[in-house]
Amino acid sequence: MINLHSVRKVFQTKDGEVKAVDTVDLNIKQGEIYGIIGYSGAGKSTLIRILNMLERPTSGTVTIGGKNMSELSAKKLREARQEISMIFQHFNLLWSRTVRENIAFPLEIAGYPKDKIKKRVDELIDLVGLEGRGGSYPSQLSGGQKQRVGIARALANDPKVLLCDEATSALDPKTTDSILDLLVEINQKLGLTIVLITHEMHVIRKICHRVAVMEKGKVVEEGDVLNVFKNPKESITKDFVKQVTEPEETVDTIKQFIEEFPEGRIVQLTFVGGRAGQPLITELIRNFEVDVNILQGKITQTQNGPYGTLFIQIKGSEAALSYAMEFLDSVQVEVEVIHNA
């Protein structure tokens, strides 16, 4: 659906050239939710703007739905943009227009007749759950409601692709989740391809099928979300994965525990997919002469299945311990020994 080939974007600044996007190749499939994660300044904002030519690439090609975007005439590009919608971190609604008029805006641009606009706006208001707010002005809405207007407006022209530019970064965690749920809902209902950029792994974890990690203009790692979670290669990816799998205080808690109770082994178990649901600890205690003490754990849902980490302390004889470790390895759980007394 979306193909990027050797895309580069170089900005000339007073301090010399800045490579905002450096030789990026991406292949995004029809109907998937594709996430691009990176810290600010990684070039993801520029990259998503290259998709609809708000930024022109310095070199490389962008193909969306078979169209080479950088070769389109001004008129053809405007037509193509009606099929590639965008939502924004700061919503970018017209404050001088009501909710209804904001949603009608892209339809006016596309030249729809008045009665058709009215009907379509009604459908969209229902779809995003803004019934009864049609006459309000953006200044009277909460952040989450504003983003719903943004989404309704983006969907007005029945686009094939939805670009989300940090769409939830200005929202509180609860509102973020409701907006993410809405994005999943429209992805499934309308089968539309969603490309989103974010700096929050939570967003990737919750709704994306595939993810690309960006650092200094380059895509350093890419793949199915679950695989990236299971086996992050780059250190930046590991940091991002930790954001959602390890509660922040984990490291301190474990350290403190080791100081107080230095006996036994402290092990980090990582479960992926169906494994996360199995009664592993019960099996461990029943079958081996060991005591198990659960220190901390978390199971996270992703679009491709659950993913979890568990920190446990195992105590017992040397022999029992090594049998227990063998067992853990055999059930395809990743095991990392953090402390061995």
Binding site: L54, H90, L94, P106, E108, I109, P138
Partner: protein, 222 residues
Amino acid sequence: MLNSWFPNVQWDVVLEATKETLYMSAISVLVTFVLGLALGLALYLTAPGNLWENKFFNSVIAIIVNVFRSIPFIILIILLIPFTRFIVGTMLGAEAALPALIVGAAPFYARMVEIALREINKGVIEAAKSMGATNTQIIFKVLIPESTPALVSGITVTAIALVSYTAMAGVVGAGGLGNLAYMEGYQRDNADVTLVSTVLILVIVFVIQWIGDRFTTALDKR
């Protein structure tokens, strides 16, 4: 009683002068609004990073605006005498004041339009572009509606400046309340005529300010 307090005031003359002032102000405000809006849009759109970015045109327009905005109005009237003669055919009467009023006020308003447009969130323009809007659609559906309150408060300030310009124009023969205050009041030493003319000009200014404020508040949905 009025006649005993204001012995030298001829009320029919005052009425005529008021009408002339209102006429000069109304026509010049209207034309200034259209011309200033066009100039202001041109200034904004040709600035770096905007829709019609063009360094050359931008500096040409900026120079014209700055020059005409900086010339003191009384001097501008004199400088424009040949131009006014050519267009209106005479240097006397309310019509003859219009070219100078407009040439003096339009650049002033153009700067205010430019400032109003610069206040618009760039993200909104980006959003319109991402929907496939043409530049014309962006101008008429985004730029102008989103800056309306500032455009209205700007034209209010400009209108008040124009009322005082008409008084100055009156001194050099354009008629109106300024002319009355100067010729009948000051020159003939009739303080009551000057007083009445001043009060009437104040009333006109207050009414304009009140109307402008009401519109600005009603239009601002931020």
